[in-house]
């Protein structure tokens, strides 16, 4: 066999492997939510699926209750402000899920526009989402529709800003010198 042919064959195998590396969960997601899955990334077997905002609660509920590996635990729920990154949509809400059954993990991302920063609440899927969503609301100003009690978590109730937004100055807007007693 000539060297060139051999290389071609090897490349074909590598390509096939890349396609196959997406886990069963991701394939299931693509099957059930073909319109809602926007993007899929694999970084050293850490899988990230970007999902349409309107479908997020359905996707999370599917992952927890109906997928072949039930993601019973919500490890983390947080957000990213991509103001200074090369992204069309400013915010992203990120869900880190873990399956007790198979010890598998998956990351779900939802782009959230600045003009309408609202996402469905996952508190009805995992009660653990309650305080995590309050923290995201507090620090990023992203609202969670259907949340049982959406109040600030760490900042004072009358704090006027959302300090983890990238356009908020480090030293604040004078809140630390002028706050209610």
């Amino acid at each position: 066999m000539a060297d060139n042919e051999k290389i071609e064959v090897e490349e074909a195998i590598v390509e096939e492997a890349v396609v196959d590396s997406s886990s069963g969960t991701v394939r299931e997601l693509k099957e059930h939510f073909s319109d809602a899955v926007l993007d899929y990334q694999d970084a050293l077997s850490e899988e990230t699926v970007t999902v349409e905002r309107s479908a997020i609660i359905a996707v999370l509920r599917f992952l927890k209750d109906e997928s072949s590996t039930p993601f019973t635990r919500l490890c983390d729920l947080t957000a990213v402000d991509r103001l200074y990154l090369d992204e069309d949509v400013r915010f992203a809400v990120v869900y880190h899920l873990h399956s007790h059954l198979s010890n598998q993990r998956i990351r779900i991302k939802v782009p959230v526009p600045e003009s309408d920063p609202v996402v469905g609440s996952a508190a009805s899927v995992w009660p653990a989402a309650d305080w995590m969503e309050r923290e995201v609301y507090d620090l990023y100003g992203i609202e969670f529709e259907g949340h049982p009690d959406l109040r600030r978590l760490v900042m004072p109730d009358d704090f006027g800003a959302h300090p983890l937004r990238k356009d908020y100055p480090l030293h604040g807007n004078g809140e630390r010198d002028n706050f209610a007693f």
């Binding site: 900042m155 004072p156 030293h171 604040g172 630390r176």
Partner: protein
């Protein structure tokens, strides 16, 4: 000369201010407002190796109504400051305040939106301790400075 001549050797005269000041300075009851790592050093100061009891200030009280020396040891956020002020207001007069460490005194390295840049903006501070965190010896020295102040304060 004067009254002393009329009395025998085993009687001593003084003033009420001096007696009360002496009693107070040797029996300070600290209220620890510990919010960070400085509080760990404060605990070490109270424990056997440094033994704050030698200076009469070992009776730590978590009830402000039973204490007369507040030791602010740690960061104070703008959400915590109203709590600190309330506790300070609940302490009976006379009372003294030690601001322990860089954070309580000036905000320290935390020059951020949520941290009070020195508790002296809101309550009067008698002694500042520099350090991050200060060693127990520094705390003892600060306590002795407060004692000097207490000793010469008015009884009423």
């Amino acid at each position: 000369m004067g009254l002393e001549d009329q009395l025998s050797d085993h009687v001593m005269t003084t003033t009420v201010d001096q007696v009360v000041g002496w009693a107070r300075k040797n029996s300070l009851w600290p209220m620890p407002f510990g919010t960070a790592c400085c509080a760990i050093e404060l605990m070490a100061t109270l424990a056997s190796r440094f033994d704050l009891a030698r200076f009469g200030a070992e009776a730590i009280r978590f009830s402000p109504r039973q204490s007369d020396l507040m030791i602010v040891s740690g960061r104070v956020s703008i959400k915590m400051m109203p709590v600190l002020k309330k506790i300070y207001d609940q302490m009976p007069e006379p009372k003294w305040v030690i601001s322990m460490g860089a954070c309580a005194s000036s905000g320290g390295v935390f020059n951020t939106y949520t941290l009070v840049q020195g508790v002296d903006q809101f309550i009067p501070v008698d002694v500042y301790i520099p350090g991050c965190p200060p060693r127990p010896e520094n705390v003892i020295q600060a306590l002795m400075k407060v004692q000097e102040k207490v000793a010469v304060s008015k009884a009423m």
